[in-house]
């Protein structure tokens, strides 16, 4: 009846059979996903269970693999920008930025100052939206059905704000090589100014009702402890690394754009467990609000697209480059190599979720299944970014 390691005629697919080769006698092999109510996306995790305990876990990827890197080889640089909006729908503007930043770095194009500020404001708004989505979905995983509704209420405001300049609600292709597509008009700036105190008024409520709730605390405290050395071994970045006490933020480590001028804190947590990662992300929402405020004050007048900006048929000059930005999930890296031809010779997209998920197998060993789900949620995974 149940498929366990004893069955001779294993009817599983390639990955289940591969996994079951080294399974113990009498253990239960269960597939979490790929269709799963825990709203991470299309992720499949094969677990070997001994009762309620997870002995071994293996994520199986590829269900959302669209081969963006091949698409880059048949497109010009400008044609590839919309792809970057689809790689990670949570923080699409950061991926936009990583790509156009790489192209600008390679070609030596300098972006006008106002464009830098517009990029920063919109990217940080997107980061808040991404964290809110994570927060609501994580609590849904843990069985609290209500916070996601409140998070989406806030998120709707942000999506409406970002729709004005970009034209999209989720998969943005707003940045251009040399600036952004359009300026933020007065209406948009006014809405942002109204949004900041609104969000600030909601955060204490979330803290009191959700973050300090004893049931939630019991679910995530002590769960999924990730040692800093494990982060180093797997290349985990972003809130996963910061939740383990590593003070690493690309905005400080490899400064880009106008971030050196902005005063903001990089939150870290010494807790190393899911609670630490949770706290880091909640504080990041507040810090993003600070960044947006300062940008609104400091933003100069001017163009938002450099004069003589590359046209759609522009060829990337010869060379290679690697550019990294801080996305909601961690360090987003884009590696571009060009031989001066019409299309991009090689584009490699380094997704933070990819490295973050690869440590799941290590971390979830020996935990209860409910804890494995809690750990998965605390890693803040967006599967399209992992599969590309």
């Amino acid at each position: 009846m149940t498929r366990n390691a004893n069955m001779e005629h294993l009817a599983g697919d390639f990955y289940t059979n591969n996994f079951a080769k080294t399974a113990k006698e009498g253990s239960l092999i269960l597939n979490l996903g790929p269709q799963h109510p825990s709203t991470h996306g299309v992720l499949r995790v094969i677990v070997e269970m001994d009762g309620e305990y997870v002995m071994r876990a293996e994520p199986v990827l590829g269900y959302l693999h669209r081969m963006h890197e091949k698409m880059a080889e048949v497109k010009t640089a400008a044609q590839f920008i919309p792809n970057m909006g689809r790689v990670d729908y949570g923080h699409a503007l950061a991926w936009n930025w990583a790509f156009v930043g790489a192209a600008e770095k390679l070609a030596g194009i300098e972006v006008p100052e106002r464009a830098e500020y517009v990029r920063t404001i919109t990217c940080e708004c997107n980061r808040i939206a991404s964290h809110l989505l994570w927060w609501g979905a994580y609590l849904l995983d843990l069985g609290a059905f209500t916070p996601i509704m409140y998070a989406f209420d806030d998120r709707e405001k942000l999506l409406d704000i970002l729709q004005v300049p970009t034209g999209s609600r989720l998969t943005y292709s707003y940045f251009r090589i040399g600036g952004v597509a359009q300026d933020l008009n007065e209406d948009c700036l006014g809405r942002i100014r109204k949004f900041i105190p609104w969000m600030r008024s909601r955060l204490p409520m979330y803290k009191d009702l959700v973050s300090d709730n004893i049931i939630l605390r019991k679910r995530i405290e002590g769960v999924g402890v990730i040692e800093p050395d494990l982060c180093r071994s797997f290349g985990a970045t972003g809130p996963v690394a910061r939740g383990s006490g590593i003070n690493y933020d690309v905005r400080r480590a490899e400064p880009y754009s106008i971030y050196p001028k902005i005063d903001f804190e990089v939150p870290t947590s010494e807790l190393m467990d899911a609670r630490g990662r949770y706290d880091v992300r909640m504080i990041e929402i507040e810090q993003s609000l600070r960044i947006i405020e300062q940008c609104l004050e400091l933003m100069p007048e001017g163009d938002v697209l450099v004069k003589g900006a590359p046209k759609p048929s522009w060829k990337v000059p010869k060379g290679e480059t690697y550019f990294a930005v801080e996305g909601g999930r961690g360090k987003i890296g884009v590696y571009l190599a060009s031989d001066g031809g019409k299309n991009l010779y090689r584009t490699k997209l380094r997704a933070p979720g990819y490295c973050n998920l690869s440590l799941f197998a290590e971390v979830s060993r020996g935990t209860i299944l409910a804890d494995a789900v809690a750990i998965l949620g605390s890693l803040d995974l967006i599967i399209p970014e992992i599969d590309r």
Partner: protein
């Protein structure tokens, strides 16, 4: 035909009808409360303020194709929802809705209810096992462990009240309480009330203890493979169980049908509704407790507390007996 038999028959018919009605009302209440807690209106399209929504849901469920997964045991698979639903009807019989208004005059009414509510565990187990589905199996295993665990503090807390009232007959227990809240058993047994409510949540698999049907982990636990009326029966049984549990709480702790001015049955229904609303609230407010934490709460907290409560109650009842005699 003996009057007793006719009485039970009428009662059963009334119970069967009202359980269906309760199901419909509870679906609407649950979804409306969920909506308003989540800052949205809930159902409002179908009928005025969404009142006909449960009817639409029921029609949908009835109209769905009944299929069985490959490899499932047909007898057990279809027995499980039926078994979850039928015993619940029996549990309503000893409940006194008003003065003398009960279907069955049994002087062990409490014992009857506790004994038959244990049958629901069997149906969960059968449903999960017969589904030929690993999620179902895990859900069933959890459900059994949880139900078996939470039976004990439930029993002990209820027993304490039985000590105070001096009888296991529900009608007598209500009569012992007075009209006003300060005469109710909740005043003399507050701890037992709290333990009872928590155990009731555990017994009926309601959030925050709804692990057997944990949507986000096990897809739907023991009723993953059921669709249409099979699922509908499980659903109805859950609501009916909730009503039974709240009714027992009302009878034992909140004075049953006692109350000023209004007639007995009205008060009874009001009190049960209040408790049901409380349970619905819990579901939409709290996250889910992890399984081992759930069992820990039971074995490490509820059990010792309920035993202590029972011992104290026994001690004071004996003391009262001797002092009164003197």
């Amino acid at each position: 035909m003996p009057a007793e038999f006719i009485r039970i028959l009428i009662g059963l018919v009334a119970v069967a009808a009202s359980v269906g009605l309760i199901g419909l009302v509870m679906v609407w209440v649950e979804r409306k409360v969920a909506g308003h807690v989540q800052r949205r209106p809930g159902p409002y399209e179908v009928g005025p303020n969404g009142l006909l929504q449960p009817l639409a849901d029921a029609l949908k469920l009835v109209g769905k194709q009944l299929f069985m997964p490959d490899g499932a045991d047909p007898i057990l698979f279809w027995l499980a929802p039926v078994l979850s639903f039928l015993p619940v009807l029996l549990l309503f019989l000893p409940l006194p809705l008003g003065d003398g208004l009960f279907t069955m005059d049994v002087n062990l009414g409490l014992l009857l209810i506790l004994a038959f509510s244990g049958l629901s565990v069997l149906s969960l187990l059968l449903g999960g096992w017969a589904s030929n589905n690993k999620y179902g199996l895990l859900g069933a295993a959890r459900a059994v462990a949880q139900s078996v665990a939470y039976e004990i503090p439930l029993l002990l807390s209820v027993l304490a009240v039985a000590f105070v009232s001096g009888s296991l007959d529900l009608a007598t227990m209500v009569k012992e309480q007075g009209t006003w809240p300060w005469n109710w058993n909740i005043m003399t047994q507050p701890l037992a009330f709290l333990i009872y409510i928590v155990s009731a949540l555990g017994e009926t698999n309601r959030a925050p203890f709804d692990l057997p049907e944990a949507e986000s982990e096990l897809t739907a636990g023991f009723h993953t493979e059921y669709s249409g009326m099979g699922f509908g029966l499980f659903f109805l049984a859950e609501y009916a169980n909730m009503v039974v549990v709240c009714s027992v709480a009302t009878v034992l702790f909140l004075g049953g049908w006692h109350g000023p001015v209004l007639p007995g049955p009205v008060w009874f229904v009001l009190k049960v509704s209040l408790l049901m609303l409380l349970l619905v609230f819990f579901r939409w407010t709290y996250p889910r407790v992890r399984f081992d934490q759930l069992l820990n709460i039971n074995w490490k907290w509820l059990l010792p507390l309920s035993v202590a409560n029972l011992l104290f109650t026994a001690f004071f009842v004996k003391l009262a007996q001797y002092t009164i005699v003197r």
